[in-house]
Symmetry: C2
Subunit: 353 residues, 2 copies
DNA sequence: TTCAGCTTCGGGTACGTACCCGAAAATTCG
DNA sequence: CGAATTTTCGGGTACGTACCCGAAGCTGAA
C-alpha cells in the first residue's frame, strides 16, 4: 500500500555529506585517500540510511572478474557421489557468471594423494580469488591451505572438514548427529533392546576424520538409552564388490545373529547386493546418499533408509558463500550444517539433493 | 583457461546491421516502428550471434517496477504454519526488490471465506503483474482466478492446489505420496501386520481437496501390502484443545486397542498433549509440520515423526517463479512438488524449512 | 508543387556504481 | 618561507540497455 522508504544510493549519501560520489565510493570500498573525519561522517550516514548498494549497477560498472577454483574428487564408477556437488557448483556458476564470476574446476583422484597435490599446485599457480574444496587428504590439504592463508585467498570446505583451520566456512553434515539418527532409525524398526548390530565401513582411507564421528554418534544413541545391544564393527579396505562379499561373509559367519547393518558411507549398495544374494530380506539396512544404485535397493526394500546431506546444495552453497564474501564482503557462517535427510521408499521420488 | 566467446551486446548487433542501437532495441522488444526488412535482418543477426541480453543492464535501465500480490492466510495462534511461507516470501522479496520488484501482502482469515473475497477484490483493484496465493477456499478462489485469467495476470498456487486451472505453477506437496509415507513410517515402527490405526483430522474446513488425498495415500499403502489393519478415522471440527480432548477420549473409549495415530495436519501437538495426559507413551504418533509446539513433543518422544513439506521454500519459490516469468519470460514447471521430509528426534536440530 | 500525416530511424540521456585523472589542499622538507 | 610531496577530493566517463524526442523520408491530397 504505502511505498515504504525511497531507495537511496551513493548520490544521496554524497549530497548529505557534502562530498562527491567518488569519495563516498572510496569509503564504501575501504579504499585509501579519505580523511578520517570525512570517512566517519560518511559511514555514519551510510549506517543511518541503511544503505544497500545496487548490485546490478555495481557489477555492471565493475570490470574485474572474480576467479574461483574448485578442488574436488572426480566422480568415479565406484561412487558417483561427487556428481551431485558438481551439479550444484554448475548451477551456481550459471547463476552468477553474468555477474562476472569465472569458475575453474580441478579434479583429483580419491585413490591418489599425489593427484591432489598436483591440482592444488596448479591452482596456486593461477591467480585465484577463492577456493572451494573437499579436504579429503588431511596432510596434503593442510599444506595447501597454508599457501592460501599466506596469499589471503579465502577457502571453503564442503562435505568434510579439518578442525581449527582458517577456512571461511564449512558446509556439510554434522556427522555425529548423523550417526545418532542412524541409530534412532534402526531402533525404531527393532522391537526390544538387545540386538546385534553391525557397523560396516568400506573405505580405503584410514586417517579420516569422518567415520569415527559417525560411529561415535551411532554408539552414543544406545549409550544414552542404556541398551544392551552388541555392536560389532568391520572395516573393508578394498572397495570392490568381491572384497565386500568376502568380508561380509566372514563377518556374518562369525555373527550369524545380526539384526541390522549400518553402513557409514555411500557404498551401501554393495552391502545390499550381498544381502540380497544371501536372501537376507529381514535384516535392516541403513546407509548413505541418494545414488542411483542405492535407490534401486531402496525401492526393492533391501535398503530401509538412506541418510543424505544434500550434496548438490553443498556445492551450490559453497560457491555462493565465496561469491557473497568476495563481491559483497558479506559475512558467512563458519559452520553451516546441512540437514540430515531421511530418504526411504515412501519419499525418494520427491527428494531434492 | 580459454576465455570462450566474446560477450556481444546490442552495440555489436547494431554495427553489423548498419542501424542504431535504438532500432535493435525496438526489435528485441517487439516494439513498432521498424520496417519488416530491417526487422528481419536484425533478427537474423540476433539468431546468428545467439545474443543473450545483459540482465543487469536491462533491469538497471528499465524504470518500470513489477508489482506482485501475495494472498495467504494469516498465521494464527491456532497454527503458526503460515509464518514459514511468509518468511520465504520476505526472503525472496529482499533478494529481488533491488531488481525493481515490489511485493504487497494480503492476509485472509482461514475461518472466514468473506475475508478471502474481500482481499481478492482489493488485489484486483490495484494494478498487479502477478499473484501468489493459497487456494484455501475452492469456490472463492475459482472466482478470483477467473478475473486473473481475463486480465492475463499470472498466478501461482502454493501449499495446496485446485486441479485443471490455468495457474502458472503449483508449488507444494504431493499429498497422496505424503500420506503413503506416513503409513510406511508407522508400519516400520509396528511389528506384525494387524494393528488398529487411527486417522485424526482436525479442521473446520470440510470441502477441502487436501485431506482426502492424504488419507487415500495412507490407506493405499496398506492395500498394496494386503495388510489386515483396522483403520478408523475421526473428524474433529472444532480446533481448540477442549474439543480435541473430548473427541479423542470418545474415540479411544470406543477403540481402546489403538496402536498408532496419524494426524493429517499440523495440529498434531494437540493430540500429543492429550496422549501425554493419558500417559499413552507407547502409542505411535505421526503428524505434520515443523512448528515449535510439535517440536517440543518430538523431543519428548510423544510425537515419533513429523512430515514436512518445506513451507518456507514454498513461499520463496512461489515468488521466484513469478519473478522469473515476468522478468525473463522464463518457463516454469507447472507442478513443482516439494520434498516430503521426515523430521524426528535425531535430525530436527538441523532441519531447514 | 506544397504541406500535412505517417512511417522509420538515430541521437542522446538516464539507470547507479566503479574508477581514472587531475586539481586543490595539507603536509613535509630543505 | 618556498618548493616538493603527499593527502584528500571532485569531475567525468564507462558499463549495456531502455526509452524519449525529434529528424528524416515517404505518401497522398489539394
Amino acid at each position: 500500500m504505502n511505498q515504504d522508504k525511497e531507495i537511496i544510493g551513493v548520490k544521496e549519501i554524497a549530497r548529505r555529506a557534502n562530498v562527491s560520489i567518488a569519495t563516498v565510493d572510496r569509503v564504501i570500498h575501504n579504499r585509501t585517500g579519505v580523511s578520517v573525519k570525512t570517512r566517519n561522517k560518511i559511514n555514519a550516514i551510510i549506517q543511518e540510511l541503511d544503505y544497500q548498494p545496487n548490485i546490478l549497477a555495481s557489477r555492471l560498472a565493475s570490470k574485474k572478474t572474480i576467479h574461483l577454483a574448485i578442488l574436488i574428487p572426480s566422480a568415479s564408477d565406484e561412487t558417483q557421489f561427487w556428481q551431485a556437488p558438481l551439479r550444484g557448483i554448475r548451477r551456481a556458476e550459471s547463476e552468477i557468471k553474468q555477474y562476472g564470476v569465472h569458475i575453474d574446476t580441478y579434479f583429483f583422484d580419491l585413490n591418489d594423494k599425489e593427484s591432489f597435490r598436483k591440482q592444488a599446485r596448479a591452482i596456486l599457480d593461477k591467480k585465484v580469488n577463492g577456493v572451494l574444496l573437499s579436504p579429503s587428504f588431511v596432510e596434503e590439504c593442510t599444506e595447501f591451505i597454508k599457501s592460501c592463508n599466506q596469499k589471503s585467498i579465502p577457502y571453503v570446505f564442503i562435505d568434510s572438514t579439518i578442525p581449527h583451520q582458517n577456512n571461511l566456512s564449512y558446509i556439510g553434515p554434522h556427522l555425529f548427529q548423523s550417526g545418532y539418527l542412524g541409530a534412532q532409525l534402526l531402533t525404531y524398526g527393532l522391537k526390544g533392546n538387545s540386538h546385534k548390530l553391525l557397523i560396516v565401513n568400506i573405505s580405503k582411507e584410514v586417517d579420516n576424520f569422518n567415520y569415527p564421528q559417525i560411529e561415535e554418534g551411532f554408539r552414543s544413541f544406545f549409550q544414552e538409552r542404556g541398551d544392551s545391544n552388541a555392536i560389532v564393527r568391520i572395516d573393508i579396505r578394498q572397495t570392490g564388490y568381491a572384497s565386500v562379499r568376502e568380508e561380509l561373509s566372514k563377518a556374518l559367519q562369525q555373527h550369524p545373529d545380526v539384526d541390522a547393518l549400518f553402513v557409514t558411507n555411500s557404498r551401501v549398495s554393495s552391502v545390499a547386493r550381498f544381502l540380497e544374494s544371501q536372501s537376507l530380506h529381514d535384516t535392516l539396512l541403513i546407509g548413505y546418499d541418494y545414488l542411483p544404485d542405492n535407490i534401486e535397493y531402496l525401492k526393492k526394500g533391501t535398503i530401509d533408509f538412506l541418510i543424505c546431506h544434500k550434496p548438490e546444495e553443498q556445492g551450490y552453497r559453497g560457491v555462493m558463500a565465496l561469491y557473497q564474501t568476495l563481491v559483497f564482503s558479506a559475512s558467512v557462517e563458519k559452520e553451516y550444517f546441512m540437514p540430515i535427510d531421511i530418504v526411504t521408499r515412501g519419499n525418494y521420488e520427491y527428494y531434492r539433493n
